[in-house]
Amino acid sequence: MKTPLRAIISFIGPSIILLMIFMLIPIVVSLIISFTDFDVYAIYDWGKASFIGFENYVNLMHDPLFWRALLNTLYALVVAMPLTVVLSLSFAALINREATHFKNFFKVSFYLPSITNTVAIAIVWAWMFNPDYGLINWFLGFFGIQGPNWLGDPLWAMPSVIMLVVWKAVGYNVILFTAGLQNIPDYLYEAAELDGASRFQQFLHVTIPSLRPTIFFVTVMTVIGYLQLFEEPYMLTAGGPLNATLSIVLYLYRQGFEFFKLGYASSIAFVLFLMIFALTFIQMRARRLEV
């Protein structure tokens, strides 16, 4: 049966229109602006912006702060992404065990950071990171460890930010993994047990393969999320000290909304867009090869 065009339009039309207004058009406009010298004077009078070709992109390639921001972001991504996946998968497996008590309590406590306002979280964590009377260094003190000046030390600032973002991201992914785990049929485990597989072997050969789609989804989403790292360094360190926590989006924000160099900021946004696009594409390719 052929579906009439009218039905197609009335069903997907509204979402297409919304997608156009809030996704496609802004991306295209941002791409166009990235080829102009749109700055503070042009906001009021668009005629004052002129096309300058690839100049923004060329400048970007020669901008040491952009490279610094890129490296910082990749650093955060490379450390935080596997941590998030491993931690949330382990916690989900623990919660899913029949022997675990207080499951709901743990589910709630893992999920709570995900729904708490980042600004409030950042204020509390700034306290915990305080080198003189923060909770973390106080705790380390019990073991005779003199904790570092977490946010004030250029070496430790990014690890501090990573600790916060991982802690915040785990809960959401625990929920996804728990859902995935519950979809694995029991007979697979029963069969494995009959074949004499240990608990760990069961995890390795039954759980992980069955969870592939979930793991794929979680990694793609966390990669995208960490590439867009912004609020935490913005609140905790303002990109400092010595630009150690300057992320790409924080740099973009500064150029666009503090310095009003919207043309330049758009070129950063587009580079980030291409990076996310490329990484997602590679991940999808890798998944297809696997299957």
Binding site: V40, W127, P131
Partner: protein, 399 residues
């Protein structure tokens, strides 16, 4: 039925256009209770006008103004942070107020503090009329300073350094608080002004490599390299002040009431003093201005509102409600402000205070200064090196 509705709505529209009061929109920033009260009094005095008042939190205000300008949905009058005057002003979003001031009885330059009045001037045009001012002064613990032999607040650079060192030796974990991760130039730059330095000279040349600037940077850096001040700003200023960890810091008048409320245990053990002196005691002046947007349709009414807000009695009213310091000199003669010696100190400091330069690139320059200060306090660069690099950086920003 439908016809009747159309007719009715058209009639209502005409009525509201012809007989309704002229409405202006006013945006107040932060709690804005004071300005809100003023709008209500304004409507009492001018019943023919209606004021639609909206309070916007400071944290959202910057982006909200930006989007409103880009989308041409601006209010008639808005309260504007002094460091925001330059970017929005140079966009051409504000109305030049010079012709209005010329014919005004109330709003005259000499009625306002000089630094505050100048903060309203961008690219040579008067875009803003000062609404409230805030200025930084020195908060210090009288009891702890007495212990190290100071029966007065440190009054010069040498005394400040000496006192901080002695406080540190006397058991304070640090001695002074000098650093904040965001907008650190507000703390650092007064030292440059006190030493006679600045970002630009009168001809617009960048002069941050001059000895005055370098010396100020050296002095400031010394507190960090000698461990006299915490290098990360994530502490709680009230607790640090009460515990004696940082018995001295610089901040604005809002801290007076907050300290009284949050740390009653040190009541009577602290006071406020003028900035330390080198060549001058210059402090950082912030605050806010009232502006009229160029796209406003009721500029005459908007101006009447600004004139109304500039009356000393209305400035005092706002002070009573929110503790925002009045920008009008006349208001400071009122016993209300003179009765509190701490507030009076802030009043005295206002006579020697500077607002940051109003160039559109100010935020970028401020970020460059922040970055350079970090380079020196983390001992990555010497003050001379940092100052020279900063000069190149600022020249690059201005092209």
């Amino acid at each position: 039925m439908r016809k009747a509705l159309v007719v009715l709505s058209v009639v209502m529209l005409m009525v509201s256009l012809n007989f309704g009061a002229t409405t202006i929109t006013v945006w107040g920033m932060g709690e804005a209770k004071g300005l809100k009260q003023v709008t209500e009094l304004f409507m009492e005095e001018y019943p023919e006008y209606e004021v639609d008042f909206q309070a916007i939190p400071w944290s959202n205000a910057y982006e909200k103004i930006l989007t409103s300008i880009a989308g041409r949905q601006v209010p008639d009058v808005a309260q504007m942070g002094t460091t925001w005057m330059a970017p929005f002003g140079s966009m051409g979003a504000f109305e030049d107020l010079a012709p209005y001031i010329e014919n005004s009885e109330v709003v005259k330059p000499e009625n306002f503090f000089e630094g505050a009045w100048e903060s309203g001037i961008v690219i040579g045009k008067q875009f803003g009329i000062p609404w409230h001012v805030d200025v930084r002064a020195m908060f210090y613990r009288t009891d702890l300073l007495t212990q190290v032999g100071y029966d007065h607040a440190p009054q010069t650079w040498d005394e400040l350094y000496d006192a901080v060192k002695k406080l540190h030796e006397n058991g304070s974990r640090y001695g002074i608080s000098l650093y904040q991760p965001q907008d650190n130039y507000q703390i650092f730059f007064p030292f440059v002004w006190q030493n006679g330095g600045d970002i630009f000279d009168s001809e617009g040349n960048v002069i941050v490599d001059q000895p005055e600037f370098v010396e100020a940077l050296e002095y400031y850096t010394k507190f960090f390299t000698e461990g006299l001040t915490p290098i990360s700003g994530s502490g709680n200023i009230f607790q640090d002040f009460a515990s004696g960890d940082t018995p001295i810091y610089f901040s604005g008048p809002w801290m007076i009431n907050m300290t009284r409320e949050q740390t009653p245990q040190i009541d009577g053990k602290w006071d406020v003093a003028l900035m330390p002196e080198k060549k001058s005691k210059t402090s950082f002046m912030g605050g806010s201005n009232l502006v009229i947007f160029r796209d406003s349709k009721n500029k005459e009414v908007a101006w009447k509102f600004i004139e109304f807000a500039s009356r000393p009695e209305n400035q005092l009213l706002a002070y009573q409600i929110t503790n925002e310091l009045p920008a009008v000199r006349q208001a400071w003669k009122d016993p209300l402000l003179q009765a509190d010696p701490m507030i009076a100190t802030f009043g005295e400091q206002l006579n020697d205070a500077k607002a940051p330069v109003n160039v559109p690139e100010f935020h970028e320059i401020a970020a460059a200064i922040d970055n350079m200060v970090q380079q020196t306090i983390y001992a990555r660069k010497t003050p001379e090196q940092a100052a020279q690099d900063l000069k190149k950086e600022i020249e690059k920003i201005l092209k």
